[in-house]
């Protein structure tokens, strides 16, 4: 079968007339460069599995402030970033799917979902040959008692603090919440709340501009 890849960066009230040529070129450049980088990665003998390729592409999208995830994520009503991610494979993992939610200090939530998927296989079917994530977790577990929490086991959807502790256990990069902040998203957050206060619409969507819906 011919290998394939497709990526997306969000959908919503993205009107042609409200997008400037510069903005269009920014999105175009980001999407195409991330796509082509992922395509090139797929030819790398170590990155051949679709799990590696898809999560590689999403990590790049998370690091790009144009898109509503990771750096550049939207704010809740309280002005907090709460991130979510998921990964699912059609064949080869007993665990099949993982979701993580309520994350505030993880730089790349998709890597946590990926590590949980791999780790789950160790718990469900005793498969210990899981690659670097599992090995790092074992090392971290040994030398930091705080990380000696039960592993993700067969769990599929994990929220908040426990998920963040697991991320540390797997050696994933944690950041200060301020890393996720971008002025553009903050302005959208403030504008929405003000609009709602003045009864000019609700705070999560606008007919005039693209407000990320997730």
């Amino acid at each position: 079968v011919k290998p394939r890849i497709i990526i997306h960066g969000g959908a919503g009230n993205i009107r042609r007339e409200s997008m400037t040529a510069d903005q269009y070129q920014q999105y175009r450049h980001s999407l195409l460069s991330i796509l082509i980088a992922s395509q090139i990665t797929s030819t790398d003998v170590y990155m051949r599995t679709p799990k590696e390729i898809a999560t590689y592409a999403v990590v790049k999208l998370e690091n790009d402030p144009l898109f509503n995830s990771g750096h550049g994520a939207v704010f809740t009503r309280d002005g907090i970033n709460e991130l979510e991610a998921s990964v699912m494979v059609s064949r080869g993992f007993a665990k099949r799917a993982v979701g993580v939610t309520g994350l505030r200090t993880i730089k790349n939530p998709i890597l946590l979902a990926k590590a949980m998927l791999e780790h789950g296989d160790r718990d469900l079917v005793g498969n210990t040959d899981l690659g670097w994530a599992a090995k790092v977790a074992l090392e971290n577990e040994a030398d930091d008692p705080e990380l000696d929490v039960p592993s993700a086991q067969g769990h599929t959807l994990i929220h908040g603090k426990t998920a963040e502790t697991l991320a540390k256990k797997y050696g994933l990069e944690t950041v200060d919440p301020s890393y996720l902040f971008t002025q553009k998203r903050w302005d959208e957050h403030v504008r929405g709340l003000e609009k709602e206060k003045q009864n000019r619409g609700n705070a999560t969507w606008s007919i005039d501009e693209y407000i990320p819906q997730g």
Binding site: I7, L61, M88, T204
Partner: protein
């Protein structure tokens, strides 16, 4: 939200999705992205039996079986490699062996289909209709192509839009889109791949969706609007 769906040459699919959620959501609100079957789904299933009685995209399989061609015994990996070198989307592989006449009627042919989708838009609507899993279920049980199923869920007038009722276009309810990949592999009893096809899936019912993919001819394409 951002997402990616990748397919490797063994037909394995992976969908990865990440998001900050809805702007000004309640703190603690959980959207569709981490919820299995709502914002993401990947599934593989087998369809046995006579594909000649099957639905539209498999019609060509019967044609393929009828085609004359030299019988050459190659290992399935090598055949796959050769098949990928030929022009797509319809891959005719003259080097593939013709199945033994007893297979000709497709009785021993197993069709393995798989699809993976990632959703983006108002997550609460995706949750209300379990959008991602519905796409795979429609493709699997209604015998239609996955791109048709994506259209029925995320296209204009699809389930997402219907779930928003009168609020569609006013509150962002029901607004969104989906991307994905479908893969079809037909094998005979010997495990010989007779036919394989993969297709990019994408549709949205709102004004636009940021997406990019590698086309059949290997070129990268980016789109925001339907009529880009």
């Amino acid at each position: 939200t951002c997402g990616a769906v990748a397919l490797d040459r063994n037909g394995v699919l992976c969908v990865a999705t990440s998001t900050g959620g809805i702007t000004n959501k309640l703190t603690g609100r959980i959207g569709d992205t981490p919820v299995v079957g709502a914002g993401f789904w990947a599934e593989e299933w087998s369809e046995k039996g006579d594909p000649s009685a099957s639905r539209a995209p498999w019609g060509r399989l019967t044609e393929y079986l009828e085609m004359p061609g030299p019988i050459v015994e190659l290992t399935s990996t090598l055949r796959n490699f050769l098949a990928d070198c030929l022009p797509t989307p319809f891959m005719y592989n003259p080097l593939a062996p013709r199945p033994h006449p007893s297979h000709a009627r497709g009785i021993d042919i197993e069709v393995i289909r798989s699809t993976a989708v990632s959703g983006t838009g108002n997550g609460d609507s995706f949750l209300r209709v379990a959008a991602a899993r519905s796409v795979a279920s429609i493709a699997r049980w209604a015998g239609v192509s996955a791109s048709d199923a994506v259209n029925r869920i995320a296209g204009r007038g699809g389930e997402l839009e219907k779930s928003a009722g009168s609020r569609w276009g006013k509150t962002g309810e029901g607004e969104g889109g989906m991307i994905g990949i479908e893969c079809v592999i037909a094998m005979n009893k010997l495990g010989t791949v007779l036919y394989s096809r993969s297709e990019i899936l994408q549709d949205h019912n709102c004004a636009g969706m940021f997406r990019a993919w590698i086309r059949d001819d290997g070129l990268a394409e980016m789109k925001i609007w339907h009529e880009d």
